[in-house]
Symmetry: C2
Subunit: 142 residues, 2 copies
């Protein structure tokens, strides 16, 4: 059966990454790995690894995104958490069988990974991303 491997990241919605890094990097001392423009998410993201997980600071670059709407209605804060899974297709099929509402019925494929979101209504108000790294797989000849 498909299973969760680890907590991949916690995404924090912020209005200004440079300002947010004053706290997360300079005050708290979590070393910034890099900041990246992520056009597919219409966001700029700062990646701060901590142990086997990451804090991701997400600053929307367009008003037309879930994160921008979240910021507008609730202000900055924890936006979602992401679990890395070993088999996202199997996991989604299993969740559907169990009646769990999914935002993405089929995984989105993006840069060597597949991802899908579970609806927070089914997860105690928590927006959960499931994430499978696919480009680590060794290709077979068959």
């Amino acid at each position: 059966m498909a299973k969760i491997i680890k907590l991949n990241h916690i995404a924090v919605a912020v209005t200004d990454i440079a300002e947010a890094l004053e706290f997360w990097e300079n005050a708290l001392g979590i070393k910034l790995d890099h900041v990246e423009d992520v056009p597919s998410q219409k966001a700029k993201v700062a990646f701060l690894p901590i142990g086997e997980s990451e804090i991701e600071l997400v600053q929307p670059t367009s008003q037309d995104t879930g994160t921008a709407r979240f910021l507008e209605t609730r202000g900055p804060g924890m936006h979602h958490l992401c679990f890395e899974v070993d088999d996202i297709d199997g996991m989604l099929a299993d969740l559907k069988t169990k009646g769990i509402r999914l935002i993405n019925e089929e995984p989105l494929e993006l840069d060597g990974r597949k991802l899908a979101f579970i609806h927070p209504k089914c997860a105690n108000g928590v927006l959960i991303e499931l994430y499978e790294i696919t480009n680590k797989k060794i290709p077979t000849d068959s």
Copy 2:
């Protein structure tokens, strides 16, 4: 300098642990370690380890708690995240020097651990717990 070791847990505020476990344990497949009454927090807590971290489902047992007020005003959802640190006194001293607002200026001591909360106003709306396990230390003769 004091530093963060890992993400210890993410606390999710829920109204009913048994109902919440239907999702986190039965649907998502995270194995429940145990459920515990935590009188100091006026809460019942379900511990679900995942990799080096944990999901903690927190159901308040009194209306007179921050978690109960959180549930009342915002509904269930991610309540706080907790970082394990190697030296909480050093970390708090450092944060104070840097002008970071703390909920607990001095750590609370509880069952072999010391903990303190950073005010969410200074942390992009995220309530952050700092946590040091102290009963692992080997006592010296001096």
